[in-house]
């Protein structure tokens, strides 16, 4: 049903229906060169738009504006809405790197059923970069000598953390490790979002924040963050605290049940 809430599910095998649907939407978005397309949206993070928030300061906050989680939540939502323009009710999948400590098959295989896999790589095009970028994204997973993927035990321990600042900082550090571990374009904010696995990684980060919110609520989020803008998404931090109000939730499984035939049969 158009406009109803969607459930974000774990990255599954390439032939899983929700992954096939997501792949179809990504393929369609990647074929668009205009502002509805993947290339344009990927460009919000690093080159050419540089909107991402990782370590920025803000004069209204004492040490550092911890916009890492809210900014990326708004970013995921923006892409998800653009993908739903292509395929109704499609939802972003999350790569649980704490349990599946390798590139998932759905993102690793270059071709599926004789067609190139839009989750494997993407031709990034940034003509205004210096030098201009026009090439397919690359990865080198597991080659960084120190970077590693946080374990499920570490994530469970982090979910018990009660202080928002510590939770955000530690989760951001686990996130930084994933970027280093995947390597290649993912290891640099300039090009990271052009790699389709960026969004599966950040969907996992967003899910961990969601799980933390279920446990601890939003009371620990500092008041001085709530009105800060999340550019260019037209939202403020307070607008992205409730995932259900944004039209999505995280689930272990969801199966669409055909009712039309029964009701009208």
């Amino acid at each position: 049903m158009a406009g109803s809430m969607v459930y974000r599910l774990r990255v599954a095998s390439p032939d899983d229906p929700h992954i096939a649907q997501f792949r179809q939407a990504m393929g369609a978005a990647q074929a668009l060169d205009d502002n509805r397309g993947y290339n344009h949206i990927a460009g919000f993070h690093g080159a050419p738009d540089w909107y991402c928030w990782h370590h920025q300061a803000n004069p209204r906050t004492p040490l550092q504006a911890r916009l890492f989680l809210p900014w990326h939540r708004a970013y995921l939502l923006h892409l998800e809405q653009a993908l739903q323009d292509q395929v109704d009710r499609v939802a972003l999948p999350w790569w649980d790197w704490s349990r599946e400590q390798r590139i998932p098959d759905s993102y690793r295989v270059a071709d599926i059923d004789g067609a190139s896999n839009p989750l494997h790589s993407f031709r990034a095009r940034v003509p205004t970069a210096d030098p201009p970028i026009n090439r397919r994204t690359r990865r080198s997973p597991g080659t960084h000598p120190f970077a590693r993927l946080a374990t499920a035990t570490e994530i469970n321990a982090l979910l018990r953390e009660t202080d928002w600042g510590t939770f955000s900082d530690v989760l951001q550090d686990y996130h930084d490790n994933v970027h280093g571990w995947v390597g290649g374009d993912m290891s640099d904010p300039t090009t990271a979002a052009f790699d389709p696995i960026f969004f599966a990684h950040h969907c996992m980060v967003d899910r961990i924040w969601y799980l933390w919110q279920v446990e601890h609520g939003n009371g620990a989020v500092p008041q001085d963050l709530l009105d800060l803008e999340l550019r260019p998404f037209g939202k403020r931090v307070k607008d992205v605290l409730d995932t259900q109000a944004l039209g999505y939730d995280y689930a272990a499984a969801a199966a669409e049940i055909e009712v039309e035939g029964v009701l009208n049969g």
Binding site: H55, S140, F146, A147, D173, Y174, H179, S187
Partner: protein, 162 residues
């Protein structure tokens, strides 16, 4: 190239009953390739080859999602100086980073060893992994990096909480 920094020995000042200890790094320059720092207490001899997470002196680690090369025109990656009064735009993406590493268990152990602490930080980038693999092969000539050190920061603080 992997780097190693040894700080101390200094008096850690931790009392007997702290509940948590954090090691904080201030103002880290991340106009660099992504790198990871591993921290060791009272182990100044640890180096890149021995800096494992199962080493008894291991205290924790931090990762930096680094911006390796400037993709803009001249000046694009230069941090601006003092902001103008009415400039309320978000700060530059390369504003220096803050990192906090929870080191509670490692500091408790160090407290058992005495009142002084030595902190060793070993940092490495993906390039070090390649170098390790191809150390005997003749590699192609690398472009000179725009930075002097991989790990450049302005302050560090060990904080304990009751």
């Amino acid at each position: 190239m992997a780097e190693k920094y040894v700080f101390g020995p200094f008096a850690h000042g931790a009392g007997p009953d702290f509940k948590r200890a954090d090691l904080e790094f201030y103002s880290i320059d991340h106009f660099r390739p992504s790198f990871v720092g591993r921290i060791y207490f009272n182990d100044p001899d640890v180096d890149f080859d021995t800096a494992t997470e199962d080493r008894p002196s291991y205290a924790g680690s931090f990762a930096i999602f680094g911006h390796e090369k400037c993709a803009g025109n001249v000046g694009h990656c230069d941090l601006p100086g003092e902001r103008r009064r009415f400039d309320d735009r978000p700060s530059h993406p390369l504003t220096r980073a803050f990192k906090r590493v929870v080191v509670t268990d490692a500091l408790r152990k160090a407290c058992d060893e005495g009142e002084e602490l030595t902190i060793t930080v070993v940092v490495a980038s993906a390039e070090d992994g390649k170098r390790k693999k191809t150390s005997k092969k003749k590699g192609k000539k690398k472009e000179k990096p725009h930075y002097k050190r991989l790990f450049d920061f302005k302050g560090m603080q060990l904080v304990t909480f009751d």
